[in-house]
């Protein structure tokens, strides 16, 4: 295993302890629920999308440090992005946590790159993003990482 510190970076502890954009979102027009049956992580994502631009996004739920920090970092990254840009980020993030090369500039999300060395934890990091994908498509069934 690589160093535990590659996985648990300070930024991740910070976002786990103080998740950003946490709570309900008044005026949301996109919504999805995510569930990771393996560890019991649950996540509700609400977005306000106008003219194809993500104006606001907030999440609720409970999960491990990786899944909470990933959701928190994701909400920060998404604000002001178009839906198309969000989809590009989703794909780039997915490649990164799977340990594949990506040309997408992921900014702060890159702190989660260490997850690729911990295969059992990839689902934790991906849950928020899969939920986002569903919310943008406005799928009504809860998303499961299984």
């Amino acid at each position: 295993m690589s160093d535990l510190r590659d996985l648990y970076q300070e930024v991740i502890f910070d976002h786990n302890r103080h998740p950003r954009n946490f709570g309900p979102l008044v005026g949301a027009n996109r919504h999805a629920d995510g569930f990771n049956p393996l560890c019991g992580d649950r996540l509700t994502l609400n977005l306000q999308v106008q003219d194809g631009v993500i104006q606001d996004v907030r999440f609720e739920g409970s999960g491990c440090a990786i899944s909470t920090a990933s959701a928190s970092l994701m909400t920060e990254a998404l604000k002001g992005k178009t839906e198309a840009e969000a989809t590009v980020l989703f794909e780039g993030f997915h490649h990164m946590v799977m340990g594949e090369k990506t040309t997408v500039d992921l900014g702060k999300l890159a702190v989660l790159a260490g997850v690729s060395e911990f295969p059992a934890r990839v689902k934790c990091a991906s849950l928020a993003w899969h939920t986002l994908n569903a919310a943008l498509k406005n799928e009504s069934d809860p998303v499961s990482t299984e």
Binding site: F13, L38, C39, G63
Partner: protein, 406 residues
Amino acid sequence: MFDVQALRNEFPILKREVHGRPLIYLDNAATSQKPRSVIEAECHYYEVMNANIHRGVHTLSQEATDAFEGARDKVRDFLNARQREEIIFTRGATEAINLVAHSWGRSQLKPGDEILVSEMEHHANIVPWQMLCEATGAVLKVIPIDERGALVAGAVASLINPRTRLVGITQVSNALGTVNPVAEIIRLAHQVGAVVLLDGAQAVPHMAVDVTALDCDFYVFSGHKLYGPTGIGVLYGKRSLLEKMPPYQGGGDMISQVTFRKTTYNQLPYKFEAGTPHIAGVVGLGAAIDFVLSVGLKAIAAHEDRLLTYATQQAEGFEGLKIIGTVPGKASILSFVLKGVHPHDIGTILDSEGVAIRTGHHCAMPVMDHYGVPATARASFALYNTAEEVDALFGALRRVEELFLK
């Protein structure tokens, strides 16, 4: 004389390292490690006598059949069943429960009949009964548990009624370690004519089981939690019940005569063993039973109880740690949560220290709901674990604390 170091030498895997540290394997309730004698028994079967059973007249087939049926006799002795025909080999405890739900359940139940399980059951002792209820119109009732993780006092007596047809209950809870008062439950069930299936998956590695004395109607367990191979398990059923039950699967070995007009089924136990079974697994299971009996179940239980007591003392002094399942007389399972740290994070950090525990819902989501937690961390002890390993567990938990709660 219980010599844990000598016993450890019998388990080749305990010599390996994980992330540069000695393996400390505390996930025994998920599956136990295998002694050399079990590994060699399977290997010997393939190297010396591999053949299909019950049909060949050649030497290898005869030897393989003898080894296979010899293991059945060992299981009969191990459970103290009256007859070898009452021992059916399955893929595991899960398949054994499904067999009963499908064969006994679908032939016996009608709408309005009740099946009683407990809130602490493994999903394997919930879902097959739910499927059976969907198919037959029977109703699933649940015995609640209290804060300690014991069945609520008096609940069994109040829930059992003349509509109750089957009680399915675990002898030892995999998520909590609770040992259930199964003798009393069997007595109550039989008063109303209900049958009782005991899930013995967690019990058989820890206590001597006597199905005749218990008078249970069905008993199931898996080989792999008993230091045996994966993919093999046992259904014990009273002969009077098994005789009346239709086959579970059709195929070779379970028939006595096949024509396109009519097929007659084989006698017990073969009626329920369609197809070529996991012969090597059965042979390995026989070796596992020999191993466990040579160590002695009383000695194993005493050793595991000492470890659990020691671990519980340390857990109680660990700030922020809450034990899930606090019934006195638990069996070798320490389930817990740590304030401010998700069990999954605990599991990853412990793994980096070489300590293997289970984190998650332990296939017992209703138990997690009962305690209002998404998951727990669970350390479970086996005959080869030591007090030093318990120390290492809590040393690793200090590391979690340093990382997360500093």
